[in-house]
């Protein structure tokens, strides 16, 4: 497809998601208390969007991923949080 066709097909959807992202960050600003590790990871991943290189979706996913290689000792929860919590 041409860029023009892709814009015709996806611009309004992407625009809507972009505004949702902005509103989410405004909402966080208005919130009280400390944010957890997810906000830092989110802001880090956002930087990938503005880089003029391909595979942005892959890089965002990698940015939010656990890059360790050994199995953990025991699963203490079944859920995933969406961002890897790195022990500082």
């Amino acid at each position: 497809m041409t860029r023009q066709q892709l814009l015709d097909l996806y611009f309004m959807d992407a625009r809507s998601k972009l505004i949702d992202l902005a509103a989410f960050m405004d909402r966080l600003d208005r919130g009280e208390g400390e944010a957890d590790f997810r906000l830092k990871a989110f802001r880090q991943a956002l930087k990938e969007l503005d880089r003029k290189e391909p595979q942005r979706a892959k890089r965002v996913l990698l940015s939010l991923s656990d890059h360790t290689t050994k199995p953990i000792a025991k699963a203490t929860t079944k859920a995933a949080s969406g961002a890897y919590y790195k022990l500082e």
Partner: protein
């Protein structure tokens, strides 16, 4: 349009979903065993679940002209309890000869723990000993990359496993190449909030090609869309993909993989 729902947890869905799927062109639905949303208290719970998957659910689907097939295992979310896992692994062979069982699945990892990995290796051994196809679940979100790597290593570590007889599901942009380059099949799951959106799934096909890859809804008791596959087919039409290309992805590819099990018959 015809399609195969290659991964749907129909025990969690209402009968109206079968009606909608049949009307949308679904020819067959394949249901891997999975976590019920709560931990089962004993092996007897799994026995009953396997009976539901192999006896009751095919009859429910048949009322709407749909073939129903299944995969059996203990899900990685319940694999931390090794005693229970071993008990469940011991009853699975009793079900493998049933006419709608395609193989072992969806096995894999959830939080990438040592016990999950041990249970995965035991499932792989079970599949190898009984010459079964394998369907693998990869972990969610931040755990997917690491889990996919561990799963690929575990599968490669068993030399009896033929890679073309294994599908590694729930791939995304950061894992699809790992899976395809290793010679396995790759599944893309179409979810509203996680895994792949229809647009992203089509991006992946456009970038990595349509060989050894399929799409599924993985509809279950959570936020999911039973008609996600035909909706994505519609999106492919909007993007200019041919009818033949769509048919390959949503019908021919799952047919090609699952026909490796002689029990997979759409007649």
């Amino acid at each position: 349009m015809r399609y195969i729902e290659s991964h749907g947890h129909m025990v969690s869905r209402v009968t109206d979903d079968y009606v909608d799927m049949a009307m949308a062109g679904c020819q067959a639905v394949c249901e891997p065993a999975f976590w019920a949303g709560f931990d089962r208290s004993s092996v007897q719970g799994f026995y009953d679940y396997f009976c539901q998957l192999t006896e009751h659910e095919p009859k429910r689907a048949a009322k709407f002209g749909l073939r129903h097939f299944t995969w059996l295992c203990i899900n990685p979310k319940e694999s931390e309890d090794m005693k229970l896992a071993d008990e469940v692994l011991a009853i699975i062979p009793k079900f493998l000869d049933r006419p709608t069982v395609l193989g072992i699945g969806e096995i894999g990892l959830n939080k990438n723990s040592r016990n999950e990995l041990k249970v995965l290796e035991r499932h792989i051994d079970l599949a190898a000993r009984h010459d079964q196809l394998i369907l693998v679940h990869t972990p969610h979100l931040e755990d997917k990359l690491k889990g996919t790597r561990l799963i690929i290593d575990a599968l490669k570590g068993d030399k009896r496993i033929q890679r073309e007889r294994v599908i590694i599901d729930h791939v995304e942009e950061h894992t699809v190449k790992l899976v395809l380059d290793a010679g396995f099949w790759a599944g893309m799951t179409l979810y509203p909030e996680s895994k792949c959106s229809p647009a992203r799934a089509i991006d992946i096909v456009e970038v990595y090609g349509a060989e050894r890859i399929w799409m599924n809804s993985a509809c279950d008791w959570g936020v999911s869309v039973p008609l996600a596959v035909p909706k994505t087919a519609l999106e492919m039409r909007k993007r200019g993909h041919s009818v033949e290309a769509i048919d390959k992805l949503v019908y021919q590819n799952p047919l090609k993989f699952m026909r490796q099990c002689p029990k997979f018959d759409l007649v």
